[in-house]
Amino acid sequence: MKISVVITLKKDVLDPQGKVIHQTLDGMGFEDINEVRQGKYFEIDTKENDKKKAEAKVDEMCKKLLTNLVIEDFKIIGSQ
């Protein structure tokens, strides 16, 4: 089963890369952007076929390694 996870910086954490991307897009003519936030995306292919169990394991992985909860949030966005 493949679990997809998105990791984003928490709202109050400065994202200088997102800011620079925003400025560049703005300079390219995409002028109606309010904000850009950069994040990470993981696809974890696990042997577990039970959706609930697989998601619970990925939840644990996120808390223990994939995210730093001081600055980041994670969201499981898909399981197939």
């Binding site: 954490v13 400065l14 200088p16 890369q17 620079v20 390694l65 994939l66 730093n68 001081v70 600055i71």
Partner: protein
């Protein structure tokens, strides 16, 4: 005094720290990240570098390596653990120190000498220190110290800030903050003050032929305090 320096894949200041510790009288041993047990140590140093290529987040992989279980036990038992640069990043990722080190505010790798002001001398690292302001070297891309509002309150309440970025007269202001660190923080302690993490490299300032000798003062004082 016995010390241990942990080498992770990608560490590149491990031998510099080894030279510095030996120069000031430590009997130092190099320890590989995949080892399980720490040799008898009065001080454990996590050196600078790019452990695991800075993959995922700086220090995140190294903080889960085999030897870190022993380092965590050692620190929780009151053992002195010092992390420099990437070592500091490993310590925050391991949970031994609060906060996190973000990408530098202006997205630049910074490599230069800076001044840092010692904030707390009531600990084994800076006790009886002759200096208040050190000139140390920094070389990092992710040194922008950050933590939550609750954490910064706790850090200040427990006097856990070790070093501030300052100017040469000790003024702590925005101009002397190289990387955007919260409150100009350059180094922090854990609550018990036996674990220290800092971005500056004292081991690069131990010889006049290099860039200065403020690191010599730091290491001399450190070994005297641990005796």
């Amino acid at each position: 005094m016995h010390s241990s320096v942990i080498t992770f894949p990608g560490s590149n200041c491990d031998r510099d720290v080894d030279v510095a510790l030996k120069k000031f009288g430590f009997k130092n041993k190099m320890v590989w990240h995949d080892d399980v047990e720490l040799p008898k140590s009065d001080l454990v140093v996590l050196p600078g570098g790019f452990s695991y290529g800075d993959y995922l987040r700086c220090g995140s992989m190294a903080s889960k390596s085999k030897i870190m279980k022993s380092v965590l036990n050692f620190a929780q038992g009151g053992g002195k653990v010092m992390g420099i640069c990437n070592g500091f990043q490993i310590l925050v990722e391991s949970g031994l120190l609060p906060g996190v080190l973000l990408r530098n505010k202006y997205l630049e790798f910074i490599c230069k000498n800076v001044f840092v002001k010692v904030n707390n001398k009531d600990n084994s690292y800076f006790k009886d220190d002759k200096k208040d302001i050190y000139e140390f070297h920094i070389a990092h891309n992710e040194g922008n110290y950050f933590c939550s509002n609750e954490q910064i309150k706790e850090i200040n309440d427990n006097n856990q800030i070790a070093l501030f970025y300052s100017d040469e007269n000790g003024n702590i202001n925005e101009q002397s903050n190289p990387n955007g660190s919260l409150q100009n923080i350059a180094g922090v302690f854990n609550k018990q003050k036996n674990v220290l993490g800092m971005m500056p490299h004292p081991e690069r300032m131990i010889d006049p032929a290099l860039s200065g000798e403020d690191g010599s003062i730091f290491f001399e004082n450190l070994i005297n305090n641990l005796k």
